[in-house]
């Protein structure tokens, strides 16, 4: 296990770790290439060989093993990590604000999935859903929902978080707190479902 890794090497290693964690299998050279923005498989191969020589990477299936890259956990490493990307900030009535460099946030391992993502709530515009400023929500990316699920929806460009209730007249969005009004989606509205809510959490650490 050699000296310090260059930022590029480290980024490469990080990507493999995250991809494997989220997708359940390690990425192919081609997937690495396109995600990391390389123009050639040769480049990917150079990284793999370099990291293998330095002892940070191994092939689990011997030579020519497909999707067989794993990182060597140097014992100093923290416990298993389970993280999802923090894609943006959400506030009711405003567009979702995407983050350029999504950081990764810890979540329960059972929530790991390629289609899951995290948003942080900005402001108290969602107290009717009992979600507060600074809270995080985990959602599953999908454009369809079942009745009763809480959806991350965009109506005319404005984000909202409500319980999805389709009926014969159209679509209704119910707040969790019955004191607030039910929204009825007009057929002329631009209505899109962004995902369904799975989990929300708040961190009290500093």
């Amino acid at each position: 296990m050699n000296k310090a890794l260059s930022p590029k090497l480290k980024k490469f290693l990080d990507f493999i770790q995250r991809f494997t964690l989220v997708n359940g299998q390690s990425p192919s050279y081609e997937e690495i290439m396109s995600t990391l923005g390389f123009g050639s498989l040769g480049t990917v191969n150079w990284y793999v060989k370099t990291l293998e020589e330095k002892g940070h990477l191994s092939r689990i299936k011997g030579p020519n093993g497909k999707r067989a890259l794993i990182l060597n956990q140097n014992e100093t490493q923290t416990a298993t990590i389970a993280r999802l990307p923090l894609l943006g900030l959400i506030a009711a009535g405003e567009p979702i604000e995407a983050l350029e460099n999504p950081e990764m946030v810890d979540v329960p391992p059972s929530l790991l999935h390629p289609d899951h993502y995290v948003l942080q709530v900005k402001g108290n515009s969602m107290i009717e859903e009992q979600i507060h400023d600074g809270d995080f929500i985990v959602a599953k990316k999908t454009s369809i929902a079942r009745s009763g699920q809480i959806v991350v929806a965009i109506i005319n460009g404005e984000a909202t978080l409500k319980c999805y209730v389709p009926n014969s007249h159209g679509i209704e969005l119910h707040p969790r707190n019955p004191k607030f009004p039910i929204i009825t989606v007009d057929p002329t509205d631009d209505f899109r479902i962004n995902g369904v809510l799975l989990y929300s959490f708040r961190n009290y650490l500093n």
Copy 2:
């Protein structure tokens, strides 16, 4: 025991498990073929042989046994597990209600620690802390706290969740929502800190 199964192998294994569970017997090769969309028994056979070699599948009736596939329940675990015990139910103004058989709940791996535990919130007595009915809280067991931390405290046998602020006059407990009153702990009160709040979450699945 080769761990890295490809998604297809995994799906195959999953199907056998589910089928056996539902039907009480394992599927025939032909049933596997049609359900999983293969065009040939050879393909099914290839999967069985491969999974057997990797140690994930066994034939319970020896060679040529009919409907004799079973999974080796070695490390049936899906992903990494990260769980803490759900010790009890908490409601402001009442004693903490301990659970006899604490079940385990999923948490982010970064929260794993022997001194950490989970409580579920009962009722809406903690909305002043922006914690709602059914929410879960993760706390660290300790009897001391630093100023500014949110503590799980017991005053005269009644549970409360507040921000701990000691000063020259004694101990004050501030709610997160400033509209609610500050509690000043009387020296004659039986005041104990049960733990400090680390994390709270809510699950929207089911």
